[in-house]
Amino acid sequence: MKKKLGPVSIVYILLFLFILYAPIVLMVVYSFNNSELDMGWSGFTWKWYQELLSANDVKTAAINTLIVSGASTFLSIMLGAFAAIGFHKHDFRGKDLLDSFFYIPTIVPAMLLGVSLLSLYDILHIPLSKITIIISHVTFCMPVCFNNIRVALKGFDRSIEEAAQDLGCNQLQVIGKVLLPNLVPAMLSGGLLAFTFSLEDVLTTFFVAGPKDVTLSMYIFGQMKAGMKPTLNALSTLLIIVTVSLGVIMQLLQNRSVANSK
């Protein structure tokens, strides 16, 4: 028997949600506000969005973000999938140790990761560029993909691979014709998560980006120094729309892959 919620609980939950979401809602609302100042509503407008889309530095930042996040997501999925399949198919010494090493970049504070990567590039004399950002993003995005695919493989019936072999597949064909197609949902959902991680990262990127390689999140961060502009509200609103829809798609994909494996 489930009890109905009492009035105290309802008030608590509403308050909880209000504190959680009010700033976001406020920001979205203000992105349509006709006033330059963040005080009071003075009518609806699209002008901040128009200004945003016509600003050249925003466009460059958006393109940079797409390149960096796209490339690091793609690399993360590939490396994660290969690593997960390797872990699935082979037993070797130090497997558990390696497993835990994969997760360290995700729990190390982003600033420390940035500092350490910067000194690494410095020691190796690698000039800072988009490539260094991509490498840095892969370090903390890959474990996300790896983990997602690993979980999907754990639930995958070994005898399905044996059946493929039995019906004429060699080892490579087993991976290509049976494993990978069944891992697509896990790869995509892991990839989407990795994409949002890469999209929102400021701290690590801040350390390893070249002078021209401003990403969207860095752009927002930079603009903040000059005070809160309504265009930033508009930009953040767009980013929220992108990340939330990615999150929804990911959830749908995961549900589908669970339903499929049953």
């Binding site: 044996e162 059946a163 493929a164 019906l167 060699n170 499929n260």
Partner: protein
């Protein structure tokens, strides 16, 4: 002993599989003939599935040789062996439709599309799943999935079909139907089936020959009737059907008869093939339907029947049969199966004379 003149399809020569220190399969020798339905029967952990997996190529023997259709299978991977396997949990490809599942093997062989379609259609018709051909495996019931798994293997026209407890996950009624379907399918196609099960009834229903395995060894190989009528070991006697085992030791043996001391009374057995030494410990194996009450055996005579006294426990009705449970003074359980009549009237604790024919006496090593 083999009546058929069929070709040898699979030959196992002293095949052993070690997992660590344990011998999962222990130097077994076995020949499977073309077109026969052979069943490995045994309790879990007896090595039957391991043996099947070695024939399929999923496990390498630690020792010994496997020949399939005369070819040495040493280091031949599963994809290059002319056998196909049906797995207990179906192992259908979840991302492919039923049609693509069945066509999987043929597509790998790069057959022309028309030929693949023709073969798949024929197979789908055979397993009566025409209307489900475009569905995904997750939309089918257990029985339908298993049919697809069987079709997916058979469509490749393998020399041997290996089936690893394929009906284990189905409910009893469906299992019985599928057993008969499988038997018909095998007869129709003439493909050699090697089947693994722990269900003795299933083994008796579908097999031409049964291999009884225990602890990695073959206990007995033969037709259902051979094993039922003349079990070679205590394990085989117990595993196929029910049986009474009365233990004793050999007192004397000549060409005609064998004398066995059972708790200091002397039992006789005629025409025992195996030679024993005096004091060898044996069990007399009598099937419950061959054990009689002296009181209800019209042609009873002491010359023709071994007689002992047992203590009556209870009776159980099983359809038109009635099973009587007794025990010997030494505590061995005795079961007697008779057509249900009203005339036996024993009470718990009654001392009852029971007997079995000296001719139908089967001895197994204790």
């Amino acid at each position: 002993m083999e009546k058929k003149k069929a070709n040898k399809m699979i030959e196992l020569i002293s095949v052993t599989k070690k997992f660590g220190e344990m011998n999962a399969v222990n130097h077994i020798n076995l020949t499977v003939y073309e077109g026969e339905f052979l069943t490995f029967l045994g309790p879990s952990g007896c090595g039957k599935t391991t043996t099947l997996r070695m024939i399929a190529g999923f496990e390498d023997p630690s020792d010994g040789k496997i020949f399939i259709d005369g070819k040495d299978c040493d280091n031949v991977p599963p994809n290059l062996r002319d056998v196909n396997t049906v797995f207990q949990n179906y192992a259908l490809f979840p991302h492919l439709s039923i049609r693509d599942n069945i066509a999987f093997g043929l597509k790998l062989k790069k057959l022309p599309k028309e030929e693949i379609d023709k073969k798949v259609d024929k197979m789908v018709k055979l397993i009566k799943l025409e209307e489900h051909i475009n569905k995904k495996p997750s939309q089918l019931s257990g029985g339908q999935k298993q049919r697809v798994a069987i079709a997916r293997s058979l469509v490749n026209e393998p020399k041997v079909l290996l089936l690893d407890e394929p009906l284990g996950a189905l409910d009893l009624k469906l299992r019985k139907e599928m057993q008969i379907e499988l038997k018909h399918l095998q007869r129709e196609l003439g493909i050699t089936f090697v089947y693994v099960t722990h269900d003795q009834e299933e083994a008796l229903t579908i097999s031409d020959r049964i291999v009884i395995m225990n602890k990695g060894n073959i206990e007995q190989l033969g037709t259902a009737t051979e094993i039922y009528d003349t079990p070679r070991t205590k394990f085989a006697a117990n595993f196929i059907g029910e049986t009474n085992l009365i233990s004793g030791w050999i007192m004397e043996q000549d060409d005609q008869r064998t004398l066995i001391n059972v708790h200091n009374s002397i039992m006789e057995a005629f025409e025992v093939e195996k030679k024993y030494n005096v004091r060898d410990k044996v069990c007399i194996c009598v099937r419950p339907e061959n054990m009689h009450f002296v009181d209800y055996l019209p042609d009873y005579s002491e010359e023709r029947y071994n007689t002992i006294t047992a203590i009556y426990d209870e009776q159980i009705y099983i359809g038109n049969l009635r099973r009587h449970i007794l025990h010997t003074p030494e505590g061995e359980e005795i079961k007697i199966t008779r057509y249900a009549r009203k005339d036996e009237n024993y009470n718990r604790g009654d001392y009852v004379k029971i007997c079995w024919s000296k001719k139908r006496c089967i001895l197994v090593n204790d």
